[in-house]
Symmetry: C2
Subunit: 216 residues, 2 copies
């Protein structure tokens, strides 16, 4: 199983501080994400700028695409994104349109799991050739201050067993990494934890746990 | 029942042509929408610019907000939006956060109906004080070239009877307006049909039908 990558989510409301954070973390993250907030704040200029500044990082544009898939996907890939996110709530025709454009650019799409969805939906994504999805910790659980639920982990294992690589997000801390052992984890996503003064330490601690549990 | 308004969706991939279209249609539309495509292309500058150019129009920012609700809502309302869209797939906590910020700005949120949803979800939106939702014609139907389905109309009537004002979109033509008689229609949304050379005629034809069926 390939080793999970570390992804920083840039969710600043303007480009300048996002540029600074990306510069500070580039040495210890593999994936840089233009978060939905930053993308809506600054438009595709945010993607173009970060692509220019970080030519060798995987760049994600978190559009949570729900409609207008072909046009949105083309905008993001032309701006330099490698991956874009598409909402699980999008019509299968929208997901198909995004996948087609992604293939044209050699990019990938990630299904961002929100709302009501079923394993039949997930099978339809796999049947389209989708290889990635993003799994958020249950917000109810997060708000209630509890950790990942058994239900979360069970669903993640089922998706992983279907062949979907998962990017995992929602207050990720090194102490939680062991929970995901055996899951095809594509990336672990964090924002503030990696952006702060202790970012390098947090990244190192995440990698130590990743090396411990994904060591084949 | 208040008369439905006419809304233009600006989905250009850059600001300059969107500014031109808005200028051309301002005389015969009530609501100007910064579509998701335009918002992701140009960021909140698109909202600020259209607010400046059209101070007296209702301005919508179609973010299809799915997460990060408080920050996204604040960005859009601060940029001058009157209404923002929130995805039906968003967690109720996200919808609540958007509603709170909308109330602070005297704005409104519109639930954009995508994905799997239930009338229980709709009741939860109403319980939050949400007054608006956006109903899209079944994309399957649209792709198949068929008109609005009885199932669409039945769901719209049920939502309307719950007290939700609906903005209706999906290849809207004057000949279809009668289908929505008796529904609390907030706006009818069109893009290309209003942006084209015949835009004024299309708007007039839509208004004639609206006056015919919403005449109390």
């Amino acid at each position: 199983m390939t080793k999970p990558l570390i992804q920083i989510a840039l969710d600043q409301t303007s480009l300048a501080p996002a540029i600074d954070v990306a510069h500070n973390v580039q040495g210890f993250v593999d994936v840089i994400e233009v978060g939905t907030i930053l993308a809506f704040a600054e438009g595709m200029n945010a993607v173009r700028t970060l692509r220019h500044n970080h030519p060798n990082h995987i760049l994600v544009c978190d559009m949570k695409t729900t409609d207008g898939g072909a046009i949105l996907a083309r905008m993001a890939f032309e701006a330099g994104a490698n991956w874009i996110t598409v909402s699980a709530a999008a019509h299968i025709a929208t997901i198909t349109a995004c996948k087609k454009v992604a293939d044209e650019f050699g990019g990938e799409i990630q299904i961002e799991i929100y709302g009501r969805w079923t394993m039949e939906d997930a099978q339809a994504w796999v049947d389209l050739g989708i290889k990635q999805a993003i799994y958020h910790r249950s917000r109810d659980a997060e708000l209630a201050g509890v950790s990942w639920t058994d239900a979360d982990i069970a669903k993640m294992r089922e998706l992983s067993d279907m062949g979907i690589e998962l990017s995992i997000t929602g207050g990720i801390v090194p102490e939680d990494i062991h929970l995901f052992e055996g899951i095809q984890a594509k990336t672990f996503i964090a924002g503030r934890a990696l952006a702060g003064d202790k970012g390098a330490e947090v990244a190192a601690a995440l990698r130590a746990q990743i090396d411990r549990y994904w060591n084949e």
